[in-house]
Symmetry: D2
């Protein structure tokens, strides 16, 4: 494929990696037992905590996000344990499969894929669980297959209301670093994250943020574990080291990405993602299309999943767009396959790149013979303008 100019990578992750991060990753490898490395290790571990909003430990694995799902389970549970999961979409499904492969008994609270985990339904199940059989409640914060968020704080409130001792585990793979998330304040026990979305890195790192309660649970957890074992990890991390060879160059990238996040400031980062989500939904509405997410208070700020008109193939649209406009969009997954396309608007991103991306979709729809009702791009520009903190030019350009 010949790229003239930049490819538009608008899948909902991996996201566009800032060139500063790519250059940082191109630094020579250093000895992972040196004091120079220890500084790197301590710095990224410390600053990552601020992104998770936790005072507790965060561990980093050389792995994909699915590895961090597995890590959360094997460190805290034992074979045969019963857990409660909420169906939110393809990724809740995938996580459930991991749990089942490990012999966990999964109660899967059914969902429509168009709304988030239901705090009331969770409360009901927990109330019913007199013997406190559930060892954990597992939630996807931002379901990457649907663009629907779940209200983690309300889930925790439901658990607290039921006085239920289960651990709360939350997948933030496509929300961390893009949307407000509060590990400590929301009482989450294990938060799962990956490098390739809001953290603006290539894939290859995954994380667990760990509450004291989760750490205590890991003392009795009887799953075999070595690679994912928190205890060895935390012991080495104290000094900025790792129990096995870390993915040094991805950590270089992480150091730079964290600097970029904090230079912008997390509140600004979140506000930026909110604006882009809003503008994207304005475009979708103008086109006469429908988002998968039905509840306004559950809209994702990092991606938007859009239904095709009845009978039209989303994958054909995506193919037309990639071939004509060099833009990748996310496919519909499992039961949404062919019916949905997904727009990532997260990570290293800005108004004009969003405008370009939406322009590509608008032209793609027309090429695909699906004339949009109205100009989505115009609607998006209106939305962006209405939410723009207009900067008054301080001094004229020369």
């Amino acid at each position: 494929m010949i790229h003239t100019g930049r490819h538009f990578l608008q899948v909902p992750g991996p996201t566009n990696v800032p060139d500063r991060v790519l250059r940082a990753m191109a630094s020579p490898v250093i000895d992972h037992r040196s004091s120079e490395f220890a500084e790197l290790g301590l710095s990224v571990l410390e600053r990552l905590r601020a992104v998770f909003k936790t005072a507790g430990p965060v561990v980093i694995y050389p792995s994909s996000g699915t590895g961090a799902w597995e890590a959360a389970l094997v460190n805290t549970l034992s074979p045969g344990d019963r857990i409660l999961m909420c169906e939110t979409g393809h990724f809740s499904q995938m996580w459930r499969q991991v749990a089942m492969k490990f012999g966990l008994e999964v109660d899967y609270l059914p969902g429509t894929w168009r709304s988030g985990a239901d705090p009331e339904a969770v409360a009901e199940r927990l109330a019913f669980d007199r013997e406190r059989a559930y060892k954990a409640v597992l939630i996807v914060h931002n379901e990457t297959s649907t663009g629907v968020t779940s209200r983690v704080a309300e889930i925790r409130a439901a658990m607290t209301g039921s006085n239920h001792p289960a651990l709360l585990m939350v997948d933030t793979i496509s929300s961390l670093g893009s949307m407000d998330y509060r590990h400590d304040e929301w009482g989450v026990d294990v938060t799962i994250a990956g490098s390739q979305k809001g953290l603006m890195l290539p894939p290859g790192l995954a994380m667990n943020a760990i509450s004291q309660k989760a750490l205590a649970a890991s003392g009795h957890a009887r799953f075999h574990r070595s690679y994912w074992d928190w205890h060895e990890m935390l012991k080495s991390n104290t000094h900025g080291f790792f129990p096995y060879t870390p993915a040094t160059n991805l950590l270089y990238g992480l150091r730079e990405a964290l600097s970029i996040l904090f230079e912008e400031g997390l509140p600004n980062v979140f506000r930026r993602h909110d604006r882009h989500g809003q503008a994207t939904r304005a475009a979708v509405k103008a086109w006469g299309l429908e988002t998968v997410c039905t509840n306004a208070h559950e809209y994702s700020s990092s991606l938007t999943a859009v239904f095709m008109p009845e009978g039209r193939d989303a994958d054909r649209l995506r193919q037309i767009i990639v071939e004509n406009f060099d833009m990748s969009l996310g496919a519909g997954l499992s039961k949404l396959a062919g019916r949905v396309f997904r727009i990532g608007h997260l990570g290293s991103f800005n108004d004009l790149t969003l405008a370009g991306a939406l322009s590509g979709i608008e032209m793609g729809l027309r090429l695909a013979g699906i004339p949009p009702k109205d100009s989505g791009v115009t609607a998006a520009l209106n939305s962006l303008l209405s939410t723009c903190e207009q900067v008054t030019p301080s001094a004229p350009l020369k």
Copy 2:
């Protein structure tokens, strides 16, 4: 300045450098007397010729484009020589100043800055020049300050018609590699170019393509010269070397940029620039604004200069745009200062980046209190679609 996502560099050069080229430039320096270097030198010198469409020599200086203006003069002329230049805009003015600093007698054919060099006016002057006093006619192919092209072949025809022996020198700084240009076929004697526009490199290299006639003229040219001297350069170039230390890493970049150009194919490159010029003008028209260029057959495909509505300050608009949308546009220069802004749509570029750029201008106009008559972005998308060689998706995406 905090960049979230990529800066939109839409000045009419320097242009966005492909990441492949930036990475190539980050290769370690090699000995410029080694056989490994010679291969590099021969390869770029050879392939550059195809871009100029010449079978003759092209020389490369470590310098800016202005250096290549100077090189063209000092290699072919002598102090006091009379030359004919056509006023096309700021850059014809600047080149004229160089000529005057070197003590050349410049006849400056007046122009409006809204149309290209006039072949008939040139013919008239040459006809009048019975003693053949003019040693050279100097033309800017694509006037970067106005977005107006000059018809080089017709200028040459005028010269041939007058049977005038003057050399023809053409500045292609903002057209080479973006618009069709034919050094040999059009009978140009010296073509001047730079690295930072259609060649998709950072600034730092400049070129002269040289006809046999120009080479012969250099034998009698009496300007002092050393750095710019063609003869030493050509002697070393034969073996892929340079008479003084070349800018090795920019040459790495050039090698990669030439590969990118030829992978796309020059005809495709030119067609792409034409489409983007056309779409940009569609946007300008929809906004109710006016391009500086008045003649449809002289539109530049690499940049568009746009007049502000009467009484509105272009520099304030540019400032609003850079501060709110992180996009750089070109300023109006000399007599167009404050009245004009310039959009670069050349180099490593594509439809969606153009759509993003035009979206930034459209929002900037509104923030500046200059409501566009109509949506320029929509007009541009229509234009792009109407000129899009629709690619029929071969196989569905998975």
Copy 3:
């Protein structure tokens, strides 16, 4: 730490990454579901096989080498299975610990840490195992803590001789891509490797090469597994994809590193490592020091572990060297701690870098008050010269 010039990274891995590989890794991330990605995936999977010398599948995990140890176990064995491991040093110990954490019964054939796994002792154990209780024999090909290799083909012969059905699993983390290794010919069932040694990449990828017999065994293996599961992986790999987000940029690096390896040619790569091992041992001998490895037919070509004189602290020497000469050496591990330092001479490396590294050790010894008996550098240069395929200069330099 201020580096003037390049740091000498002479630990036995991670190794010095070629700048070509670092630049390749700095390419923008692409969609891991795109056809462009599929080409990348197919290309690296295909060419990796040639490095393992196998016609069978190789899988790549985003993980460290220890992850690939775990993967080998959980894919082929079941809790409570009995396995035979050979003590060769720290890393055989670590692998054993992984096995024990997974509830495997490990028979650990004792070793001196100064010689490789003993084929006769293995044969004896297997002969004794009438009920065929051993499900696998586990060997470290090149023990990174000692610089001793084990004779894999002879181990296999011992197994064949005993007609024992156990699987043979071999850790080649610090030998693959540096020393000759033949997965198929030697009858290995699972080969474990990592990216950060002979493959000249940063850490972050690990591999399993898998025999048909191992694949069959995985059908009955009862360990819980998801992340490490071969079957999902192999299914996706068929089309160049991965079952979860792959570490795309490390795969870019792998593609480039494989190109570099094949440009040099594996036989040349191995010969180069042999020469460097030999020269290093010549230096050690001249210094009057002793290598950990005692048998000439078990010398490692990728690293050399060296005993300090009685009573001298290896870590103090390493500290002196890193602070004065900006070179990292490997520490003595577990029972060799403080008594041994290790020199990595593998990966992207050449004669003059080796000479520089040995010079640093020679000066370090003197600064540490351990005057070398004789010049090790001179001995190494003699060795390099004696094994140098002298290139007759073809044409004089200009």
Copy 4:
């Protein structure tokens, strides 16, 4: 050519560019009229002054060092002016040729190429010049073809002693940033420098540091000039800009290189180069060879030129070394061609890289059938150790 590991670039420039600088150069181009650029421009212009040790202006050209020679002449002199140059080697010769091409009358004080410019001879000529015909005295500080330095302060003293008004111009192309140099204190009027040696950049930038007296002279200088003109340059530089498009990415590199220089500290940088010069000469002596430089107080710290034994071809030696050991050395130039090879030990460099480089020469001599008298490498290591500020290890490595 296949490189296994790093090429040893030991020509006396271009030098090995730190990877930090290469990565900095790979940053995206920015608008050279933006405030972001102005910060870059002001920062490098300001910090460069400290390297020249001047409070006056320094200008930066996109050009090679030879361009900066030309710039020094055309800004200060007029056609037909008489100047005094000192023969020191090939580069004094080349600069003289530039002067002659510009119609200057050059008195060329003969030299042996084995010692620096002679202050007494200069004094004598100036004393003889009753009419003050000499407009300038031109000296090469560090003659790159011979490794001989000239005593600039003594030359200035000679001029002051003669009360002669001539300007003093000094070429520091291969000394600036490697050896102590003091533009203001030594009373130099124009200092010429380039990017690709002690400044640790790729070639492509050249500089003039300018005294008030030189600036005043430029007011009456009658050479035609435009590209090299100081006045336009200085006017733009005030605000961090340039009168024509600057080589932005090389300026990124310069910013990073200056940071590296100041992190180490100029006195440490100079001391490091002194140590390496001394160690190199120790090696040359041990080999039984002779340096071109005969006076101990004129040894260059940035390069060493070495005579071959009578009848032996230096270029064959260099060819053997590059083909067998992947190291580039400098050739003998003009009258030293074939008789001399030159070792660069400047820029981004350290003890172990020097040891590697000298090892390559030692092995090369032996392959060429020129057995060295004694081990130069051992002599160099002794020298390095004797001048090493031994760092006492603060805390043991783990």
